[in-house]
Amino acid sequence: MLSQKTKDTLLGPLNINNPVVVQVLGICSALAVTVQLKPALVMGIAVTIIVAMANVIVSLIRNTIPMRIRIIIQLVVVAALVTLVSEILKAFAYDVAMQLSVYLGLIITNCILMGRLEAFAMTNNAWDSLLDGLGNGLGYAIILVIVAFFRELLGSGALLGYQIIPDSWYAAGYENCGMMMMPAMALILVGCIIWAHRSLNKEEK
């Protein structure tokens, strides 16, 4: 159904060319919003939407952008989209928007966005740029969700706010790992994911 190139554009960033664990971009927000699963999910979706739309818009106007001021134009596009998404979130999911706090606005500075705009959208057509944006956004979201899954499960004994670890465990002396609530542990978890990813994809190097 999809040609090989389209497949690579869409699915490559999910695994072999993952923006977080291979290109090591967007680490800052991956540490900041992954204490719980829900904000991480929302953040992942928000970044996916923004990066896909920004890619399409920049790709459509790429031939009219003067090369010398392209970064500013790209920033304006991204900033407009980020503002839009954060206003929508504030309107319909206020508490999550509050949990994400400043990191929602900081999507503008997320390296994945500028990287994709510069490296892909400026030189490719709109359809490919859309796929690339979706792929990279989802690749980012996957890592966020994996990290948040472990951090919330081991750090708060819950998932999406619902308690998973039964009370009987707590009664038997089980304790949540406070280390999981700290950004340092998120870095170590990302490191573990990179570790696993590298050892699974040895031949791709």
Binding site: E175, C177, M179
Partner: protein, 405 residues
Amino acid sequence: MKKLYEIWKKFGQNFEQGGKLEKLSSFYDAFDTFLFTPQTTAKRNGTHIHDGSDSKRTMILVVMALVPAMLFGMFNVGYQHLLATGQIPCCGLTCALWWKAFGFGLLAVLPYIIVAYAVGLGIEFIVAQIKHEEVAEGFLVTGFIIPLIVPINTPLWQVAIAVAFAVIFAKEVFGGTGYNIFNVALITRAFLFFAYPSSMTGDKMFIRTEGTWGWDGGHALVDGFTGATPLTQLATGTPVAQSFWDMANGLIPGSVGETCLWAILLGACLLIATGVASWKTMLATFIGGGLTAWLFNQFGATDNLVGQYPWYFHLVSGGFAFGAVFMATDPVTSARTECGKWIYGFLIGLVAVIVRVLNPGYPEGMMLAILLMNAFAPLIDWCVVQSNISKRAKRSNSASVKLEK
């Protein structure tokens, strides 16, 4: 001895290439080198070191140096238990009670030793098998130190997780023994401290008031019992009940190995006499801590109880002495240049006292101070080496200028 060795070698044939137990060769190798090697020394000519000492001997010496602190710690655990449950008569310990205290402490501490060694060595053996390397001996000391620095009421499963975390993330990912940046035993404690703060803080954690394995439990606590260590008392704003000599003698609440100054100094003597640990680092740590505490005494805010705590008290309370002697001198993670050792030790003492005085959240600063300076040790070494290079370059330059004249 020779006969024993022959039997051992014969047994070892099973482990060679193609032998029955080939896959377990690193196990055999570990015990072989542990017990019998190195047997050869350099020839007695030239400038070689004529000594069979290698890292295994070094590790064994450190473990031996830790034994007094361990034995005293065991006794103290039992003694504190008897004290808290009001079993000590006013005339002092009888012989039977003495043995009861020691036996109780032994039973209480032994599980920690077993867990630390089982988990840590287990991971080391697995990693050695995967990487087809020999099992390194570094965990020998780490496994012995961990029970000494962990509060006696920490749940064993937490210790197991912390040891696994420390061995994997502080040691194996850096390349194993000798490559670690941070002291593995301290990472274990730091992990416990940050991951399970509820079992690592408070005043009950240092004294086993219940029974051990069901033995000697069910006693009521004496009236007005408090298990607060001197530093916890300070942090909570109460004056310290213990005198200087109480703290030096060590019959006070605290982590197993850290309380008795004399036991620690005994270990320090052995370490210094055998050249395993650097006396410079130890001395510099005490000087740095003492000086900083003295400055706080003189010029610090008068309402800060910890700051007004006399400087010599700082040196004997908490884990200061234990950290200075056994943890700061870790040859892998400390500074290696001779001048760097002075700076490194001094800064450990300085940071430890600053943390104690200025951060009420952390009554004890030794752990964080050593870990912090571990990170800076390579930088200190680099600066020392660079300054030496530039000094020598300057000297040789001025010498050559003179020659030209």
